[in-house]
């Protein structure tokens, strides 16, 4: 417990103290802290136990690359079960817990697994747990795995998505990104600048450089202010997580700390004319024995905690490095009163090291850390030659509380790679750098391989278009080259590559030995880089170790594909407002209010909210449906059919065109007359049915099924535009413009008589399957004699706004309002099919007994040729028939099959509609039965989940076979 807050250093607001809880204990931090910096400032060392071996682990990094500090965080009763502490801005009242360690962090019941590590090599589970079978072991393995615990209550927060278009999107607001944004804004372009941190400045926030004579942090602040003043859109706390096609970038704006009570992450989809990638670089650790102890950190993280947060993570620090960058940490620690020893693998560390030595650091050239020790943390580190082959080669043991390392820098090329860019291996930097890009972007700063601040600023300025004065900084002395060094060449001790998934150098060795040598096999077999940090600090090291073990170069060994997201992103925000009723909006009938008033049970049918039935007080749904179906035939019924599609087709070629589209002949239809028609796909399968009306010589009105209207319109447009473009015909979906109320049954003429209308409703003027236009109650209207119940029926359409008034008027005349469920019985009694219920994606017209047009119609209508393929002509196709259950009181479930008798049961087809008919006083069914029409009058066995019954195959028309009631 040695973390100390150093006075007067850092960008935290010491005037604003924040109280938070860690493992139930109350601690304090400051505004500007991350949860990680606050924990370190309070001396918290162990934050979790490792995934596989249950070893204690501490905070390792200071940014998105953190592998260990994954915590269960609560704030304002909202929970993130896998929060990365280094990216969580500290807030007052926040509560955090470790997600591992049972019964406690310091004593883990499974820590004994660490002693068995040699029996649990990478992929051990593929080699055992097979007898008697995996199910015996799986529940325990599952319990051992997993990180945090997800809450089971629905998340009711509100998420949203925003879209933006900009000239230049700059990703990363470090020195290079700021320089790029500044130049782009000076060039008069619209600029958006995003950074995952709450504050802009990137490495300037923990550097000590001056730019244009200002301290780096001040320059960052002033540049940010001038960008804001110029109208640039600035998005801090925003991660660019994905680079999609055509310069579309996905941004995740984290607003969990926003002052507005609106506490949700927000997704941005940004289309940028140009993207500037200034995404920086992530330090990678040196790999050495026991490099997973709490207190082993990245050198840059130690520096960042000190300079940005004023936290001295240890008083005595051993640094181990292969490059110059760790020396900035060394000198900063010394200046803050720490003690520093540096083990540098380079034989001649060079002038930067000499300067650190002069400032008081002990520098061990040609050396590396060979071991660390301490209870629940670090008490000492052994230093020895970089080429040591045994821990016994250690030359000195140094007491310390932190071991920090730097193995070089890994440019953040994730987005570049996602955009389709190709990478190249740079020997000098020992890093993958962008090579050839594929989209409109500029590269700037350390992600492009620039090392010094001066170069980063210059590359940023250029990437932004070189407008305005370039920012100036002192040129640092040339660094002494990095010496690639991937792990200590000791075989005995464990050296960790992937801290979160507990993958060691030995595991890579095992993968190599077992032929999992492709990088992807390595990843999948060992799980290297598959943890929630996505291998940001481990992938390159693992790749290098595999290259070394297989005698290949790193580029020969390959690199893994970088996939979105750069850091894990909120699922809620990805879905945004596509939730609940906005996921798939429901359509409402124009007379919705009237149905509510009539007590309708509303239900969704094909996207529309429609009355299922209108239960009376005390009535069940089934009772209501029976009553309605009975009364429609004995009294009269009222039905809202407004959802039925209405597509107007007009033009000189309307008749010719529709005749080429529809299965049935429609060109000889007389104006004012209706015809029932089928619409096929080109494959011969029935797509839709409906009634077509010829309004005039050059004008038709189609009535597709409610849920197929958009599809039918699309089909008409496709055929017109691609196959028959020269025809004079146009289409217009007017479904929403009309309300259609159907009235039918014995009393229908009495009810019609109450309508004030100029339309002649007499049978002579308006016979069955005819249509007339005029005015009803002073409103523009049309009336169609068409029936889906088998009763004399009139469909009255008025402009949508008058639908409710028409409904009210008709209802007042005493007909029985009926819903879809009742209609289903009525149309079923008549053997009228319902598309998608009685038919499916296999049904052809002859299956319904409608083979006339195929024989009679000469034109080459859609789907015609497919009806004469061998399968179309197959005699044993399933055909539409009626079925009368042997027990008149038994209603088979829809989906019941008919089967062959005998020992080998085989399906002959299935029931598509079934109900008790109040009119017949018994049950009936419709179905599709193999060769059914040839078996009329025969009985067949029905099968439903093991239970069998019998039914007689019959005509599908059960009621009013002659159709007299249509005219009655």
């Amino acid at each position: 417990m040695t973390g100390t807050r150093i006075p007067a250093i850092g960008l935290i607001d010491r005037g604003q103290k924040l109280s938070f809880r860690w493992q139930g204990e109350t601690l304090t931090g400051f505004a500007g802290d991350t949860l990680a910096s606050a924990l370190l400032a309070n001396g918290v060392r162990v934050v979790g136990r490792s995934f596989k071996y249950h070893r204690p682990r501490g905070i390792f990094a200071a940014g998105a690359e953190e592998p260990n500090a994954i915590l269960d965080v609560w704030h304002n009763s909202q929970n993130d079960p896998n929060a990365r502490a280094t990216l969580v801005p500290l807030q007052d009242g926040m509560s955090a817990r470790a997600i591992s360690g049972w019964p406690s962090l310091n004593f883990d019941a499974f820590q004994g697994l660490d002693l068995l590590h040699r029996f649990l090599p990478a992929g051990f589970y593929y080699k055992t747990f097979m007898a008697p079978d995996w199910h015996r072991y799986e529940p325990n393995i599952r319990r051992m795995a997993g990180l945090g615990t997800a809450q089971k209550t629905p998340d009711t927060r509100h998420y949203e998505t925003r879209h933006a278009q900009v000239d230049v999107l700059v990703i990363g607001a470090g020195p290079a990104g700021l320089a790029a944004a500044r130049a782009a804004a000076a060039g008069g372009r619209s600029v958006m600048l995003v950074d995952e941190n709450p504050q802009f400045g990137g490495s300037l926030l923990w550097g000590d450089a001056t730019i244009n004579g200002q301290i780096g942090t001040a320059w960052a602040r002033d540049t940010t202010a001038s960008l804001a003043a110029s109208g640039a859109q600035l998005l801090p706390n925003t991660t660019a997580f994905a680079y999609y096609d055509q310069n579309t970038i996905g941004l995740m704006e984290h607003r969990s700390h926003a002052a507005s009570g609106w506490a949700e992450d927000r997704l941005w989809s940004v289309l940028a004319a140009e993207v500037v990638l200034a995404t920086g670089a992530i330090e990678r650790p040196l790999v050495f024995p026991n490099n997973d102890r709490p207190g082993v950190m990245l050198a840059s993280a130690v520096l960042r905690y000190l300079r940005q947060y004023g936290v001295l993570v240890g008083k005595s620090v051993v640094l181990t490095t292969n490059n110059d960058s760790a020396y900035e940490t060394a000198t900063a620690l010394l200046a803050a009163g720490g003690q520093v020893a540096v083990a540098d693998v380079r034989a001649e560390p060079g002038p930067v090291a000499n300067a650190a030595q002069a400032a008081g650091a002990r520098v061990y050239a040609g050396s590396v850390v060979l071991n660390t020790g301490g209870l629940g943390g670090i008490a000492w580190a052994d230093i020895g030659p970089a080429d040591a082959t045994s821990q016994r080669n250690a030359t000195s043991r140094i007491g310390c509380d932190i071991v920090a390392s730097s193995g070089g820098w890994t440019p953040v090329v994730h987005l570049f790679s996602q955009s389709g860019g190709k990478l190249r291996w740079d020997e000098t930097l020992s890093a993958f750098l962008p090579n050839t890009g594929r989209q409109a972007h500029q590269l700037a700063g350390s992600m492009a391989g620039w090392q010094s601040l001066a170069e980063c600023l210059a590359s940023g300025h250029k990437a932004g278009g070189s407008h305005g004065e370039a920012p100036v900084t002192a040129i640092a002395r040339l660094p002494t080259p990095l010496q690639p060094y991937w792990h200590v060449p000791i075989t005995g001790a464990r050296q960790w590559l992937d801290l979160q998934n507990d993958v060691t150098v030995k595991d890579v060795g095992l993968a190599a030995r077992e032929n999992f040598q492709s990088v992807e096999h390595l990843k999948r077999y060992t799980t290297l880089g598959m943890a929630t940090d996505q291998g940001k600090t481990s992938n390159v090291n693992g790749l290098a170790v595999m290259a070394e073990l297989t005698g290949r170069t790193i580029p020969e060994t390959g690199t893994t594909t970088f996939r979105m997201p750069y850091t894990p992103v909120s699922l809620g925000a990805m879905a945004g407002m596509r939730h609940g009723d906005l996921y798939a909006p429901k359509r409402q009938l124009p007379a919705q209010s009237e149905h509510d008033a009539a007590g309708a049970l509303m239900r969704e049918y094909g996207g529309w909210m429609r009355p299922a039935c209108y239960p009376l007080p005390g009535e069940t749904e089934a009772q209501a449906v029976q009553r309605e179906a009975r009364l429609v035939r004995t009294n009269g019924g009222l039905f809202d059919g407004s959802s039925l599609g209405k597509i107007e087709v007009f033009g000189a070629d309307a008749a010719k065109f529709l005749n080429l589209i529809y299965y049935n002949e429609v060109a000889n239809l007389k104006p004012g007359r209706l015809r029932y028609v089928l619409l096929l796909r080109e494959t011969g399968i029935i797509y839709d049915d409906g009634v077509i009306a010829r309004v005039a010589e050059d004008r038709y009105l189609l009535s597709p099924s409610s849920s197929h209207t958009a599809g039918v319109l699309a089909m008409l447009e496709l055929w017109h535009q691609t196959e028959y473009p020269s025809m004079d015909v146009a289409f217009h979906d007017v479904t929403a413009a009309w309300a259609t109320i159907a009235i039918c049954g014995p009393r229908v003429r009495d009810i019609l008589a109450t309508l004030a209308t100029d339309i002649d409703l007499s049978d002579a003027a308006l016979p069955h399957m005819a249509m007339a236009h005029g005015r009803i109650m002073g409103i523009q209207a049309r009336v169609a004699r068409v029936s889906f119940t088998g009763e004399r029926s009139y469909e009255i359409s008025v402009t949508a706004g008058h639908g409710a008034a028409l409904w009210r008027h008709l209802l007042a005349q005493g007909p029985t309002p009926y819903g879809i469920e009742s209609l289903s019985i009525l149309r079923g009694e008549k053997g009228y099919i319902l598309i998608g219920t009685d038919t499916d994606g296999l049904t052809m017209p002859d299956d319904l007994g409608m083979s006339g047009p195929l024989r009679a119609k000469k034109v080459d209508f859609v789907g015609k040729r497919s009806l004469t393929t061998p399968d179309g002509a197959r005699p044993d196709r399933r055909q539409f028939v009626g079925l009368l259950p042997e027990q008149p009181g038994f209603v088979p479930m829809v989906g019941t099959h008919a089967i062959t008798d005998g020992p080998t049961r085989r399906s002959l087809g299935w029931i598509t509609t079934a109900a008790h008919s109040p009119t017949l006083g018994r049950s009936f069914a419709l179905g599709m039965i193999e060769g059914g029409r040839a078996h009329m009058g025969e009985t067949v066995t029905l099968f439903d989940r093991g239970k069998t019954s019998r039914a007689t195959i019959c005509s599908p028309v059960f009621h009013d076979v002659e159709g007299a009631k249509l005219h009655g």
Partner: protein, 90 residues
Amino acid sequence: MLNIPCPHCGPRSEYEFQFGGEPATRPIPASEVSDAQWSDYLYARTNIKGRNRELWCHSGGCGQWFLMERDTVTHEIFRTETIGSGTIGA
């Protein structure tokens, strides 16, 4: 995400469009073609890996079908044109 230049409306977001398949030439008269030829028209697709010719519809906009030449690997859009203008090769 694709930013598709509708030949009628100009560039619009992918959200507004609907893919309509590889254009296939309908054999005429259909009644005279063999089952195999009909099957080839109905079902067989070249399914090119690379520069592909496709039918698209600006369904959330002007509602017009058009032809697009697009790379099925990189998703690069080379050009779009109205049907019948005939420069996107058959």
